[in-house]
């Protein structure tokens, strides 16, 4: 530099453990010029006005860890988990900083060094990330149990008799957040291969997700119906695994890699080979953002690297795919019984708009539906506070963001909030219960499918 640089007096810490961040290319870290243009778009900075809770503040801390001037401390770790990972900063950043990559590596470092480990945290993480979300059968078994708990009315009884107070505190706090579990899973609703009546315009692989499968399996059915109506042959592998985004975003990079490998294998088994597919589709914004990065994730795996590149090249969000394919105009009006248009507003999943830069397509699709009037939502791309498991790990900030979102939704006076991510749906549905709103939360594919079918219901509960 041209003027005397004030050097940080903090010495490199001796004997630190090997750190992922340290292996990052200097260019990735140096990309951030701390101009501050990300600050006004960061929900945690906006709320606290503290630099440490801002994207450039966090990047500066990661840079200091990478350069050995800061250890992976408990404060650093807490900061990295206070970040929503909403990626609004990536949209705001003119310099093209790869925040996702730094942030995932930082969380990986945190888990490797174990600075946050406590008995209960390790137990819960182990149970969920390693135990449940790596085993599709176990996840579905738990889902079945939750469905019975809710469907039998036991949940209301437990609340009424205040039995929930007998449960551990963590569980008590989580119980109201629990989404309604569907009676059927995607495998019950969707055939492994479904073909349109006429010659197929495209052959696509369908990813059913884990949370989506448990709580919104009807959205998967709706998605397949929309695809069939658009002349696509749909291949849906059985008993699919979690895409691994939960693991990737929570410092379990090795498990994330394993999930990626299993998903590639499963798709190849059902489809013949990836070559036989025109696209691999997801209807979950959070998953899509991660699924598109399998190429980076598996670039050091000689057996999978090439297939992962092929995979990433074919993954499309459902909205993106339909607009590119050229959608068949939906036929039936969804107008209210009195003839007034159905007012729909659109909430943007962070990983759809910031992670994948898909903002126009879902709106274009909604506008195509007869009888639907799209009303813009103020701060539509501001995080709703769901952010993966953030509503569980950081309830206070999550609930602040939810209240802000629900207030903006109320201002639109819309009767439906469309959004393309199951995490957001769980959070927003909780928001309607918490804030006493009767707005319907729906996936754009559900609204499209209704229009193609010409009735609100199909052959299954909707």
């Amino acid at each position: 530099m041209h003027s005397p640089t004030i050097e940080s007096p903090l010495p490199p810490s001796p004997g630190a453990k090997p750190i992922y961040l340290k292996d990052l290319d200097f260019g990735v870290l140096a990309q951030c010029i701390h101009c501050g243009l990300c600050l006004p778009t960061c929900p945690t900075y906006d709320d606290t006005k503290l630099e440490r809770h801002s994207p450039r503040g966090r990047i500066q801390l990661m840079k200091n860890v990478a350069e050995g001037r800061l250890d992976v401390t408990k404060t650093f770790a807490e900061e990295m988990y206070f970040c929503l990972g909403c990626l609004a900063c990536e949209t705001a950043c003119p310099a093209g900083v790869d925040y996702t990559r730094m942030f995932e590596e930082a969380r990986g470092d945190i888990e490797r060094t174990g600075v946050l480990n406590t008995e209960s945290r390790s137990w819960i993480r182990g149970l969920l990330l390693r135990g449940v979300f790596t085993r599709p059968w176990l996840l579905r078994l738990i889902g079945r149990g939750m469905y019975l708990y809710q469907a039998s009315g036991a949940d209301r009884l437990v609340r009424k008799l205040a039995l929930i107070r007998l449960a551990p505190k963590n569980l008590q706090e989580l119980e109201p957040l629990a989404p309604r579990i569907r009676p059927d899973f995607s495998d019950d609703l969707i055939g492994e291969i479904e073909t349109p009546a006429a010659k197929a315009r495209a052959r696509v692989g369908m990813l059913t997700g884990c949370v989506q499968d448990l709580t919104y399996s009807h959205v998967n059915r709706d998605t397949v119906d929309v695809l069939i109506a658009n002349g696509c042959e749909v291949v849906t592998p059985r008993m699919q695994h979690c895409c691994g985004s939960l693991h990737g975003h929570n410092g379990e990079i090795e498990i994330a890699k394993d999930m990626a490998r299993r998903n590639i294998d499963a798709m190849e088994r059902s489809a013949g080979s990836l070559d036989d597919l025109d696209a691999i589709l997801t209807n979950a914004g959070g998953c899509g953002s991660h699924l598109k990065h399998y190429d980076h994730l598996l670039d050091d795996d000689p057996r999978y690297a090439a297939r992962a590149v092929q995979w990433s090249a074919k993954v499309r969000d459902i909205h993106e795919f339909l607009v590119t394919l050229g959608i068949v105009k939906p036929t039936h009006s969804l107008a209210e019984p009195d003839g007034k248009p159905l007012e729909v507003t659109y909430h943007e999943s962070c990983h759809l708009c910031h992670g994948q830069k898909i903002t126009k397509q879902p709106r274009d699709l909604l506008k195509l539906i007869p009888g639907v009037k799209l009303v813009e939502l103020a701060e539509s791309s501001w995080c709703c506070g769901s952010a993966g498991v953030y509503n569980i790990t950081q309830p206070e900030m999550s609930m602040k963001l939810l209240a802000r979102k629900m207030a903006n939704i109320a201002k639109t006076k819309a009767s439906v909030v469309a959004n393309g991510n199951p995490g957001c749906s769980v959070q927003l549905e909780f928001g309607t219960r918490k804030h006493g709103s009767d707005v319907e939360i729906a996936h754009p594919m559900t609204l499209l499918a209704r229009s193609y079918r010409g009735k609100r219901q199909c052959g299954f509960q909707n």
Binding site: S3, C35, T75, C93, P94, A95, G96
Partner: protein, 457 residues
């Protein structure tokens, strides 16, 4: 808990005194490349009384105080000196009064610039200064650095809109300077001394700003060039034709491609340079001016001149232009921004010189800037780990400054001196002028606790 923190906690709540290693690292920089420092504590103040108490304490104990807003400065003005107390003013963010009869707005220093602009716009008024970082910069920071923006050509800079201010002096005492009068010659214009003083003379806590009526019409144009100096000639010709547009922004090929990579608004990637031109005012006058500007641009060799279809497109162009500096960071690990400014008649010479210097020292330079003000931002796209290249950058930078001065220009048009331009200040303003500045500093801050080491030693 360190002694200092314990002491400050006597008059400021402990939860607003940050001193963890992580917090100090997160307040170790501003928007300037490669400058860092580590404070002893960062204090989030919320009232003038707290600022006074803190400054008084620091004065008594001889501790340096570095004022800070959102930390978006581009000359290192708010980079902490090691061991100082950072006085962070972002939480002093109340709008105190909007006076539509006198066309003024009275705000605390931590209010975000864009908020002032929005409030003014809401009642049909305009706050013209619009620095690139206006969505996050604080108005206090703008006044302390005397920030410019894209509309300087017609509307001037921050200084032209400050009518009054509340300032905490170096001993913790408080003064009010200025008023709502358009005319006021009662004594020295003391507020002007604090504007652009970079936190070295006092801490500005409240500001009375002038607003102007919002122009009725606006027209935005984009001219494309196959030669950089043709764009500079256009600017000189427009000024010489006695037209004062509100904006004449220049982007060279590297810059416009970086901006396009980010903003994707369809800028002409093959062009050697573009000029973003904007006229505003009475609808008939705007039509007339715009037509003349298009004609002049074509005469000077513009290959194409497009007129923005609507207000949305105009806003997209201006917003994209605001990202130029940050977008240039896409190219190389280190991005060093300069701020050389020359009289507008000398623009063509300056642009040619920057090109020639870049070629001679084998350096990549992206140039953009507020050409209508003669304010250029030649930006070095380099790598601080490449020591050989960094040496060439330093030589090139000095040559550019020397040349700007030889043309009657200055080393910084709008970013301030701070740390980054300090070595070049004596040559730019001369010993007598520097001596006067030092006398003023000694008179107002005899202990030298306010932002020491900035502007000059």
């Amino acid at each position: 808990m360190p002694h200092l923190v314990q002491d400050i906690a006597a008059f400021i709540p402990l939860d607003r005194i940050l001193h963890s290693r992580e917090d100090l690292l997160a307040y170790g920089y501003d928007g300037t490349a490669a400058l860092h420092g580590v404070a002893a504590a960062v204090v989030m103040v919320q009232t003038t009384a707290e600022v006074q108490a803190l400054v008084k304490y620091c004065a008594e104990h001889g501790i340096a105080v570095v004022g800070r807003g959102s930390g978006t400065g581009l000359s290192g003005g708010s980079v902490p000196s090691n061991g100082c107390v950072v006085l962070c003013l972002t939480q002093m963010d109340k709008v105190l009064e909007l006076d539509e009869k006198n066309l003024t707005i009275f705000v605390e220093c931590g209010v975000i610039t864009a908020k002032v602009a929005e409030i003014a716009d809401g009642v049909g008024l305009l706050y013209p200064p619009d620095p690139g970082s206006m969505r996050i910069s604080t108005i206090g920071g703008n006044v302390a650095e005397n920030s410019g923006g894209l509309r300087g050509l017609k509307y001037g800079i921050t200084r032209d809109y400050v009518m009054g201010m509340e300032v905490v002096l170096a001993d913790g005492s408080l003064v009010w300077l200025g008023n709502k009068c358009v005319k006021d010659v009662a004594g020295y214009s003391m507020k002007d001394i604090f504007i652009g003083s970079e936190g070295t003379l006092g801490i500005i806590t409240k500001i009375l700003l002038k607003l102007v009526p919002r122009p009725q019409a606006k027209k935005t144009m984009l001219a494309t060039y196959s030669r950089m100096d043709a764009a500079a000639e256009t600017v000189s010709a427009i000024i010489a034709a006695k037209i004062i547009p509100c904006t004449l922004e220049f982007l060279d090929k590297i810059t416009l491609n970086c901006v396009e990579d980010y903003a994707k608004i369809g800028l002409p990637r093959d062009a050697e340079a573009i000029l973003l031109m904007e006229a505003d005012g009475h609808p008939a006058a705007v039509e007339d001016q715009a037509a003349k500007m298009v004609e002049i641009a074509k005469q000077c060799g513009a290959t194409d001149v497009q007129i923005a279809r609507d207000a949305d497109e105009a806003t997209r162009l201006a917003s994209a232009r605001r990202t130029a500096f940050s977008a240039l960071a896409r190219v190389s690990p280190t991005t060093i921004l300069e701020d050389a400014t020359v009289p507008r008649s000398e623009l063509t010479k300056m642009i040619r010189f920057v090109q020639e210097v870049g070629a001679r020292h084998r350096l990549k330079i992206g140039t953009f800037g507020h050409m209508g003000d003669g304010n250029l931002h030649p930006t070095f796209l380099t790598d601080e780990k490449n020591l050989d290249e960094m040496t060439r950058v330093e030589i090139a930078m000095k040559e550019i400054f020397d040349f700007a001065i030889s043309l009657g220009g200055t080393i910084t048009g709008e970013h301030g001196v701070g740390l980054a331009k300090k070595p070049f200040l004596p040559a730019a303003i001369g010993e007598a002028s520097l001596g006067l500045m030092k006398k003023l500093k000694a008179a107002l801050d005899p202990k030298g606790i306010l932002n020491p080491g900035k502007i000059f030693d």
